[in-house]
């Protein structure tokens, strides 16, 4: 029975996941690195928004920054997009120091904000043209680039409509088209699917994956949604300003035992006590749910049900999700923050 006694203590980080300074020193540019963040710390007065965050984004993949609201991912995003200067630490994008030479970085990145950045009163083409001008593109070259984008994103028919007349999904497409217009190496996105319905969200992600494969552009996106994080090649999990884990979604899930068992009950104290005594299991208590990881949860369930039948309202066994990983690492649910 493999259990994790530290589960019960909130904010106790898995020791494997937080890089020590010795490990940090070992991080060198192996392979092609698109973004390298080292020792990034940011404070607003008393509040520490980011604490000693270090990670690397390999070139050509889709990289997710997963964390609840207030985890520091928005601050991190604002630093990466050259909006904000941090209290300490360094960030290199395509080997350029983004604090020393922001303009050189700005020509290589595209930024998709959570808030729409297109002007609703302007047409799709007018928005794209303005964006081209922002990046020094003009004349024939700009016209060709705009035409290319309109074709690729199926926006040609609506190209002379004002953005305010477009649906939410189409507006997001204009945002992406705008970002890709000037041939960026890296696209930074902040919760890009906010406000989209599930179907538009799926379409959006299909599009991102397609662009990523066709054009080998690196995507770095923040998200608080597990299914989105699951579609990334690698994920960094942030909680309370600290990086608690960084790996591929599959590897992150593998850190948890084979299965996750969740028991819904009115009497958490009794059941928690009972599980410990009878089965030697230390479960995490979250509201009315007891939760534990086990290599062979499905063998265990009949015994547990036999013993505590009258107290169990529901019991589930399933493969771990990134949500389970998050709980395992932080001791709390994402939405509880």
């Amino acid at each position: 029975m493999v259990n994790h006694p530290e589960n019960t203590t909130p904010y106790m980080h898995d020791q494997l996941t937080v890089p020590t300074s010795a490990e940090k020193a070992k991080i060198t540019e192996t392979g092609d690195v698109a973004v390298r963040v080292s020792g990034l710390t940011h404070r607003f007065g008393e509040l520490t928004a980011l604490l000693d965050v270090t990670f690397q984004v390999p070139r050509g993949g889709i990289y997710g920054l997963l964390g609840p609201n207030g985890s520091g991912k928005s601050t991190l995003f604002r630093i990466l997009s050259t909006h904000l200067l941090p209290s300490a630490g360094t960030v290199f994008i395509s080997r350029i120091d983004i604090f020393r030479d922001p303009d050189a970085v700005r020509t290589r990145i595209a930024v998709v904000f959570q808030e729409p950045s297109v002007d609703e009163k302007l047409t799709v083409v007018e928005n794209l043209r303005h964006h081209g001008y922002c990046y020094g593109l003009s004349g024939k070259e700009l016209r060709r680039a705009i035409d290319n984008m309109l074709g690729q994103f199926g926006l040609r028919e609506r190209s002379h409509d004002r953005v305010e007349t477009l649906s939410g999904g189409l507006r997001r497409k204009v945002e992406i088209a705008k970002g890709l217009l000037c041939d960026p190496e890296i696209v930074l996105m902040d919760e890009p699917t906010t406000g989209l319905d599930p179907r538009a969200r799926r379409d959006f992600w299909d599009l991102i994956e397609q662009i990523n494969q066709e054009r080998h552009i690196t995507f770095l996106t923040t998200t608080h949604l597990m299914d989105e994080a699951d579609r990334c090649d690698r994920v960094a999990i942030l909680d309370a300003g600290e990086l608690v884990a960084e790996d591929s979604p599959a590897a992150l899930r593998n850190r948890i035992g084979g299965e996750v068992v969740e028991i819904h009950t009115e009497n958490t104290a009794l059941l928690s006590e009972g599980l410990k005594e009878r089965f030697g299991i230390t479960a995490t208590v979250l509201n009315h749910t007891l939760r534990f990881d086990s290599e062979e949860g499905h063998h265990l369930v009949p015994d547990v049900v036999d013993r505590f039948r009258e107290h169990i309202q529901e019991i589930t066994v399933r493969k771990p999700t990134l949500e389970d990983v998050f709980i395992h690492l932080t001791g709390h649910r994402m939405e509880d923050v």
Binding site: T41, H42, R43, F44, G45, A49, R78, S81, T82, H83, L84, L85, P86, S87, P102, D103, R106, T107, R108, I109, V111, F113, Q114, E115, P116, S117, V118, D119, K121, L122, E126, R129, H130, H131, Y133, C134, Y135, G136, L137, S138, R144, A145, N148, R162, K178, C182, D183, E185
Partner: protein, 264 residues
């Protein structure tokens, strides 16, 4: 676009200024309520105040034989410029909250292009609206020479630039348009009232005359009045203060735009 361009072109000042300037014009044309707000309101003020106060208002002898409606006219020109500047800079607050300005700020566009584009956009709109009112001059029986008209265009341009720049500096750090409205009522409108637009400084209590004296807009108002009445706006001090005011607000606007947020 096949293949990546080797060197990313550096973004010129002209292109970025043009882009933001053009956007200001487009947005204005597409929002009819703004046309009314910035032009209709001052004209309405003028007619109502001019007609209502005209009978009881005795202007000092030194101004000669002018009706109050005539006295108020230059002030209304400047009020149109002020309102247009306010309307076009209030959008900075919305632009900064929506992603639009964030997106401009993370582009390699020179910051001076952002400031120039926005201020010149507001100035252009102010001048177009002032020109509409000037076109009404012959109907009021007021004659104006070509020279005076030329002078007026330049003077209104400089005043428009200064006031839009001032609005820019006020709007930039704000996170709500309500805040801007209170500054408008507490600073911008009194600035206009106390510039000699509404009543002359002569015969006022000392403290009020003193405020009029240190108000930079007073000097712009002098120039407008000189150009309209005599066709000779040549007062060096008035020019100096007005141009200096425009330069100062531009430098401040550039400063607030360049400043990057930092941690502690």
């Amino acid at each position: 676009m096949n293949g990546k361009p080797q060197a990313v072109p550096s973004v010129g000042l002209l292109l970025s200024t043009y882009s933001l300037w053009w956007r200001e014009i487009l947005r204005f044309v597409r929002d009819r309520s703004r046309v009314f707000g910035a032009l209709g309101q001052p004209v309405l003020f003028w007619l109502l105040l001019g007609a209502g106060l005209g009978g009881m208002f005795r202007l000092p002898e030194s101004l000669g034989n002018v009706s109050y409606l005539e006295y108020l006219f230059p002030g209304i020109l400047v009020l149109i410029v002020l309102f247009t500047a306010i309307f076009s800079t209030i959008s900075i607050i919305q632009d900064r909250q929506s992603g639009f300005m964030q997106s401009v700020l993370v582009s390699p566009m020179p910051r001076s292009g952002i400031v120039f584009g926005k201020i010149l956009g507001g100035t252009t709109l102010a001048m177009v609206q002032a020109a509409l009112l000037l076109a009404a001059l012959p109907f009021l029986g007021m004659q104006i020479s070509a020279l005076a008209l030329g002078e007026l265009v330049i003077i209104l341009f400089v005043i428009g630039f200064a006031l839009t720049g001032l609005g820019y500096v006020i709007a930039w750090p704000m996170d709500s348009t309500q805040g801007y409205h209170s500054i408008m009522n507490l600073l911008l409108i009194p600035m206009w009232l106390l510039s000699g637009a509404f009543f002359p400084a002569e015969g006022l209590p000392t403290w009020l005359a003193w405020i009029i004296e240190i108000n930079p807009l007073t000097y712009g108002m002098n120039l407008v009045r000189d150009a309209l009445y005599s066709g000779r706006a040549t007062d060096v001090i008035s020019w100096g203060v007005t141009v200096g005011f425009a330069l100062l607000t531009f430098v401040f606007a550039l400063y607030v735009t360049r400043r990057r947020e930092t941690g502690d």
